[in-house]
């Protein structure tokens, strides 16, 4: 098998738990927050053949300059503060609205609760982080942030404990693990009061807010109820991708919740293009040589006005227009940069797009041998016959019947077929139907297909070596 350019992903679809753990890893406080963990794992592709014009322009110094520029661009893409820094100036963005909300409750000593809603990857967390960072600078020593995540702290006792721990950490108090949850709740309420008296605002950030809205919602109730007392000064910020998150709240809790909602939506096409310009254009006063920067920028502007580029952008945003997707795309674009000349070309964008739109299942189907395809076809036929459960032996029977019916020449021994079968299992195109019966021999364990008949048909059509 010729390995594809970027390598086949080990699993076709990463399991939800896996992605969750990954996203947690960079959102939790303490870990260096960089969303680039996933991005930097990408192997950098070999540069496409360089253009001759560039070589004429800067014959020798190009390579170090190019790698320098690439490093600058990558650094920008991995820095959420830079990505969203454009939002700071304009008044109608979520950034300024959120900042107004939080800062007014800091300076006017009032309590608030806000929900940030929107699909994943729209920059809820990034914008919030920026707001908090800015406010911490504006009001030093007056803000303490408590971060909770619904995936980890949806249990009430655990959440109050975590709140107590983080409060102790913020104020350099020592924390006892032995305290009961009653004690912790009491401690939290006392702390809220004391902080309010000291003009300090406590900001609770609840990520995956919908997961807190399960069960009796004791945590939310006691948080929001504590905020009803005069002396406290706190803000509860919930982040959720469930749009009806506030409807999940119990009626008592909902009545105490002040319904501020900020909606984050994928940005429009114009915004995306402006974002790309913001991210890819190099500064005049950077450390890079000036003539290189001007040349680079002029080439980029010509690409941006290109009609083909519009097509690329359209097909990108047709599937997913969230900011995180755009960033992933641009990272690939930068990785495809021509290292000899150090310029981005149209090919970079098209290549990046095609690498974004890979069909991993299709690719692995096309790499299969004839025998493996035979086995898949047999399984498909069995499913068409509405046979619920089948194993390797039934498949072999079906294979025999095909052999008999069409009298083909390529007939393989059962051991060879079994090897092919095992290989399919490894590639996860088929899998076992149930998890029990681990001690049964492989041949007798029931299996099932992981691809649809349509995909199989399409791949057979595309496969040139397949006998028709």
């Amino acid at each position: 098998h010729a390995p594809p350019l970027l390598g086949t992903p080990p699993r076709l679809l990463p399991s939800p738990a896996h992605t969750a753990a990954l996203s947690l890893a960079w959102r939790l406080p303490g870990c260096p927050s960089s969303p680039s963990v996933a991005l930097q794992a990408l192997p950098v592709a070999a540069p496409p053949p360089s253009s001759s014009a560039a070589r004429q322009l800067t014959p020798m110094a190009a390579a170090p300059v190019a790698s320098q520029a690439q490093a600058v661009l990558r650094g920008r893409l991995c820095d959420p503060a830079f990505v969203h820094s454009r939002l700071r100036s304009s008044p109608d963005t979520n950034y300024s609205k959120l900042k107004y909300l939080v800062s007014s409750s800091v300076s006017e000593a009032c309590n608030n609760s806000v929900l940030l809603l929107g699909p994943r990857g729209c920059g809820k967390g990034a914008v919030l982080d920026m707001v908090l960072e800015d406010l911490k600078e504006e009001h030093p020593d007056a803000i303490s942030v408590i971060r909770l995540n619904g995936m980890l702290h949806s249990d009430d006792n655990c959440a109050t404990k975590e709140i107590a721990r983080q409060l102790c950490l913020e104020h350099q108090l020592s924390f006892s693990k032995m305290a009961s949850s009653d004690d912790n709740t009491e401690f939290m309420i006392d702390m809220l009061r004391e902080c309010g008296l000291a003009h300090k605002t406590v900001i609770f950030v609840l990520e995956e807010f919908d997961l807190f809205a399960q069960g009796k919602q004791r945590l939310l109730y006691s948080l929001l109820d504590a905020m009803q007392s005069l002396t406290s000064q706190a803000v509860v910020i919930g982040l959720s991708c469930r749009l009806d998150a506030d409807q999940l709240l119990e009626k008592r809790v909902r009545s105490r919740f002040s319904h501020r909602k900020l909606l984050f939506v994928p940005s429009s096409l114009d915004d995306i293009q402006r974002l790309m310009e913001h991210l890819l254009m190099l500064d005049k006063d950077s450390s890079l040589p000036t003539n290189y920067v001007t040349e680079y920028n002029s080439r980029l502007t010509s690409i941006f006005s290109n009609k083909k580029f519009k097509g690329v952008l359209d097909s990108l945003t047709d599937t997913d227009a969230t900011t995180s997707n755009i960033l992933r795309f641009l990272f690939r674009v930068v990785s495809y940069m021509d290292m000899e000349s150090g310029f981005l070309s149209m090919e970079c964008f098209t290549d990046a797009l095609s690498s974004m739109q890979r069909q991993p299942k299709m690719d692995s189907l096309q790499d299969l041998s004839i025998l493996e395809l035979y086995i898949l076809v047999c399984m498909n036929r069995l499913e068409d016959k509405e046979q619920k459960s089948y194993n390797f032996n039934t498949i072999m029977k079906e294979y025999k019947s095909i052999q008999d019916a069409y009298k083909t020449s390529d007939k393989y021994a059962t051991t060879v077929c079994f090897r092919a079968f095992e290989h399919l299992l490894d590639r996860e195109l088929i899998t076992f139907a149930d998890t029990k019966g681990r001690n049964v021999a492989l041949e007798y364990r029931p299996v099932k297909l992981l691809i649809s008949s349509r995909e199989l048909a399409q791949s057979l059509k595309l496969n040139t070596t397949c006998p028709v």
Binding site: N111, L230, K361
Partner: protein, 751 residues
């Protein structure tokens, strides 16, 4: 003995309003920070000093040698016991014991716990032979009396109206600075008038205090030592110059900080009364003489940080008060010196324990035996300027009063219900045999159930304080804040006795208490009012918790009243018959507010603030009344609308900062703002998200609807869906998306 109030300065003096006023870089204090020894010392030293003062071991404390007493004594020696007689005779013991008093007449003045007094410094550094109660001289003619005087807000000097150049007709409104301070502020040199030769400038007690030649303190308790000397335990006040942060630009001239340092002083060193007031009292007290001070913050001497004084600060203290320290001391301490010293140690937990605790850091835990330590550490190093110097606009004021946390001055629209609750509770308390008393209050969230009950209890409390009511005990429990229903026994028992036990033991004790009349703690036979909020949370499978609790009032000598609050109307009917027969008799319904009531609630809160259009309020209250009748919701909507308006105004100001065009008409909350707020509260944002979702996402949604209609089933398989999408794309000549891409979008959109 006539209580002689410290005679206020005969001339009415105008005082500045407590609007934070920033004098330019300390005009009146030439020596920038003059620190006293008291605060420069380390806490341990401080303690040793205090210990020197206490001297419990010495039979005769007599700190008189250190205290140079040079007052031109208008009174005979205060040590004569005939002079110092306790006002309330509570001496039931031999005079050899330590006695605590609430009020003491000493040296012609009446001092009570909770009063603020001037205290002499130890060395009596500049003890002029002068009577501190003498009225202040005018700064120009150096004569006292003879007309109205006005006080400069910067240097606090007094001036006759006629002495000022140009002369003033009446006391000016707002801030006023004397010509000398004005001149200093502008940088001009202007000599202050020198006093006539031979006449010494007399300084009033206030000036001495502000120059840290005198101390101020608040009396915490008064006692008489076995030897007959009168001592007071005091809490010190400090002036801004003596704090670590120094005087900050927003400090008022008459501002003091309350510290958490306690000290024992002899009554002899007390000079006379002064009046330290909270911001609100200070605002009202414009003509109360010279000895008025302003105090908003507490200063922690160990951690050097500030904390706002709570508005309802007195509550816990007054709670302790009726448990009567005099009784306590007299009855329980049958006086050895050993016990006394023990008592002493127990008595000073705040100052000493905290000092000790700070040194050994591991004792500060988030909870240690149910008590929380280390909270004194939280406080801000410097009081942020924006808190004090910010002039609130009408919109911001409106936002503040609309906060859910703000206690309204009056509770409109719930008079009938409150009347009913208060007669119920009063009946129960006043009758000697209250049997089977239980009130069930129900109503949807946000209709003021808990608030009304608490307001009634507050009113009863003030009635009790004025002596019109028997003592009772009030316990408040919230069902949602208990970790498990059984914990309620624990909480009740802890509140009654102050001890923590497991819930089974607590249940045992409580049942004994209520059925057999066994004592718990000291308040044996006081009636107990038990308020259980969110009663439905106490439901267990066999409903035993509710049964136990509701069974107690039926016991003959239980003296227990229960008020239960829940949302559902028919909660008693849902319960077992034996419980509902005990609970469901007396009920009170809090119906949802109608729009007039909501309107009244909002307008009563916004009284005096001109920020809302009347129509806007009516619109909001009508909308909410139609939806839920939840007062919280209505207030929140109005607050949100005010926020929108405020945001608009601020953005506008930012844009227009340079051109500075008048935009006074813009600061009103209008219908559009309310409309926006209601939209945000009541509408789910699905439509907007769908509008913005990528093209294939929309296609998938459409295909899904199509499939669902076609099949008539409740769910659809992805396989079928993909087939539909592909066929549509084929027909419309769209670029076919890959199967895997489609799957990815599908996963993304699966909200």
């Amino acid at each position: 003995s006539t209580p002689s109030k410290p005679a206020p300065t005969p001339t009415p003096r105008r005082k500045s309003k407590p609007v934070p006023y920033a004098p330019p870089a300390s005009p009146a204090t030439p020596s920038a920070v003059r620190r006293s020894r008291r605060l420069l010392d380390t806490p341990t030293k401080d303690l040793s000093e205090a210990a020197l003062f206490e001297t419990p071991a010495k039979p005769k404390p007599a700190p008189a040698p250190t205290l140079k007493r040079k007052r031109a004594a208008p009174s005979p020696s205060p040590k004569t016991p005939a002079r110092a007689e306790p006002k309330r005779k509570r001496q039931r013991r031999a005079p050899a014991k330590r006695a605590f008093y609430r009020k003491v007449v000493y040296d012609g003045g009446e001092f009570a716990a909770g009063d603020d007094v001037y205290v002499k410094r130890l060395e009596g550094a500049e003890s002029d032979a002068e009577d501190p109660e003498e009225p202040e001289d005018c700064r120009v003619c150096f004569r006292a009396g003879g007309g109205v005087m006005v006080e400069c807000d910067a240097c606090l000097g007094g001036f006759h109206l006629r002495c000022v150049r140009p002369p003033l007709r009446r006391v000016p409104e707002g801030d006023w600075a004397c010509p000398y301070c004005e001149a200093e502020r502008e940088g001009r040199a202007m000599d202050r008038p020198k006093p006539p030769v031979g006449k010494k400038i007399k300084r009033t007690a206030k000036e001495k205090l502000l120059d840290s030649d005198l101390w101020a303190a608040r009396i915490e308790s008064l006692r008489r030592e076995p030897d007959g000397a009168f001592w007071a335990k005091v809490r010190w006040y400090t002036i801004p110059e003596e704090t670590a942060a120094g005087r900050q630009p927003h400090n008022l001239r008459r501002e003091l900080y309350r510290t958490n340092a306690l000290g024992d002083i002899e009554m002899e060193s007390i000079v006379r009364h002064c009046f330290v007031m909270s911001p609100k009292e200070y605002r009202d007290a414009t003509n109360d003489g010279d000895d008025v001070f302003y105090c908003e913050y507490e200063y922690d001497v160990h951690w050097h940080n500030f904390k706002r004084l709570a508005d309802i600060d007195d509550e816990p203290e007054t709670k302790e008060d009726p448990s009567d320290e005099p009784y306590n001391a007299a009855n329980d301490y049958n006086s050895d010196t050993d016990e006394d010293s023990e008592y002493d140690e127990e008595d000073e937990p705040a100052a000493r324990c905290s000092a000790r605790k700070n040194q050994s850091n591991e004792k500060i835990l988030n909870s240690w035996k149910g008590r929380i330590y280390g909270l004194q550490k939280i406080g801000i190093r410097k009081i942020p300027e924006h808190v004090r110097c910010h002039q609130k606009t009408a919109l911001e004021k409106a936002k503040a009063t609309l906060l859910l946390a703000t206690l309204p001055k009056s509770l409109p629209c719930r008079d009938k219900e409150m009347e009913e609750i208060s007669t119920f509770v009063k009946d129960a308390i006043c009758n000697d045999h209250c049997l089977g008393r239980c009130l069930y209050i129900h109503g949807v969230p946000g209709t003021g159930k808990t608030m009304s009950v608490l307001a009634v209890m507050r009113r009863l409390r003030s009635e009790f304080d004025s002596g019109a009511l028997r003592p009772y005990c009030f316990i408040e429990i919230n069902g949602l804040k208990l970790a498990s229903p059984e914990n309620i026994y624990k909480v009740i028992y802890e509140q009654l006795s102050g001890h923590r036990v497991g819930w089974k033991k607590a249940l045992h004790y409580l049942t004994e208490h209520f059925s057999d009349g066994k004592k718990i703690g000291k308040q044996a036979n006081q009636p107990i009012v038990l308020l259980i909020d969110e009663l439905d949370l106490l439901l267990t499978r066999n409903q035993s918790v509710l049964y136990n609790i509701l069974d107690w009032p039926t016991k003959p000598n239980s003296n227990l009243v229960i008020i239960g609050i829940a949302n559902t109307m028919d909660l008693p009917e849902k319960l077992l018959p034996r419980i509902s027969s005990r609970m469901g008799i007396q009920r009170l319904c809090f119906g949802p507010y109608n729009y007039r009531q909501l309107q009244e609630i909002i307008t009563s809160r916004l009284k005096g603030i001109n920020a809302f259009e009347d129509q806007a309020i009516e619109f909001a209250s009508r909308k909410v009344a139609a939806m839920s009748g939840d007062a919280r919701r209505a207030l929140e909507i109005c607050r949100r609308a005010a926020e929108f308006a405020d945001y608009r105004v601020k953005q506008f100001q930012q844009v227009e900062q340079t051109s500075s065009s008048a935009n006074s008409g813009n600061g009103f909350v209008c219908m559009a703002d309310i409309e926006d707020a209601i939209q945000e509260v009541f509408q789910a944002p699905h439509i907007q998200v769908m509008k913005n979702c990528p093209k294939f996402g929309k296609v998938i949604l459409a295909a899904m609807v199509h499939e669902l209609y076609r099949s008539g089933l409740g769910e659809v398989l992805f396989d079928k869906l993909a087939a539909t999408v592909f066929s549509w794309c084929h027909v419309n000549r769209e670029l076919l998306p890959g199967y895997d891409t489609l799957l990815k979008i599908w996963q993304l959109q699966a909200w």
